[in-house]
Symmetry: C2
Subunit: 197 residues, 2 copies
């Protein structure tokens, strides 16, 4: 049975994650500030450090949620396409990734902006979340390129993910030089269509 203290802490923890998520979603990772968070949560600054070792870990918890939403959205884009050619399924996932990133730019940016050097501990679920995405990509890739060894399929899977990520990342960077959405999707389509031709 959780003690009064434990439930209070757990409530605060959840409240901080939700408030922090709103901040990151609306203003990005750099806007996550201990003092303003404390005001919003109606607690003291120190209270934050009672439930998280530091702000970095709060950000990680928030990124965990974002990763989950991202995975669901990409998975959702292919789950309905069982009889669709593999190449089109690949493109659909790439475009779903672009959709998520452009609809949740600040939160998605935070996924890769966070300083992984801190504490040298990359949460295992961070890599696990990526693996889930890779799983979805592997099937169509293996179908399209039966000539490749399993190792090369794996490299191609990771290479394709990184490629789409790179196109979206550089494409969404900065409004001023930002590439129009339809140009980004054309790049993704062109690159992914090269596979298995």
């Amino acid at each position: 049975m959780p003690s009064k203290t434990e439930t209070r802490r757990e409530n605060l923890r959840q409240r901080l994650i939700e408030l922090g998520e709103a901040v990151i979603t609306e203003q990005g990772l750099p806007a996550l500030k201990a003092r303003s968070l404390a005001v919003e949560a109606g607690c003291s600054v120190g209270a934050i450090y009672n439930v998280f070792p530091d702000l970095h870990h709060l950000a990680l918890a928030i990124n965990g949620r974002t990763f989950k939403r991202l995975g669901e959205q990409v998975a959702g884009a292919v789950s309905a396409l069982t009889d669709t050619p593999a190449c089109e399924r690949l493109v659909a996932m790439g475009l779903a990734y672009l959709d998520f990133a452009s609809e949740n730019t600040a939160a998605w940016t935070a996924l890769f902006e966070i300083d992984m050097a801190v504490g040298e501990e990359i949460p295992h679920w961070y890599m696990a979340a990526l693996e889930v995405l890779f799983d979805h990509i592997r099937r169509p890739v293996a179908e399209l390129r039966p000539d490749l060894s399993p190792e090369d399929v794996e490299f191609l899977v990771r290479g394709l993910f990184s490629s789409v990520h790179g196109i979206v990342w550089l494409g969404l960077q900065k409004r001023i030089s930002a590439v129009p959405r339809h140009e980004i999707s054309r790049m993704i389509t062109l690159i992914l269509s090269e596979i298995g031709e």
Copy 2:
């Protein structure tokens, strides 16, 4: 004729760029600090703000140099390969990009870590430097894919650059989960070999 003051300023400007470049090369962008820079340069903190509006602009100047070196290294990788097949030239450039990034990780990371939101002014030469790289990529791509419209060639050029960038970026991220160098180069080779097959 430059006044005494002007030459002093110019000297300090150059000194700061060189000292800052060493800092970024060895310890990365976050290690660029006004106070320690002032000590190293033997000047006051305020003096930095006499020659640069803020540290952001000093970092931009340093990134300008890094971009130049990067461009030269990639260009150098293809300049000797005039009779080599287009596909191999593409791969050579991709691997040259990887070489530069892994030999100059901190400085190369700073190119994309810098906060472009500040002041909303992306220096024109930042984009110009990228265009130089694109120029090198365009020739082999146009050769390999004569079926594509000029617009699509352009999209493929930018898409391929972004792809290689994405593979290198995610591959070099963090020692712990860092991908071995030969795996990164295999991903690049696989992706680029898909073009024009």
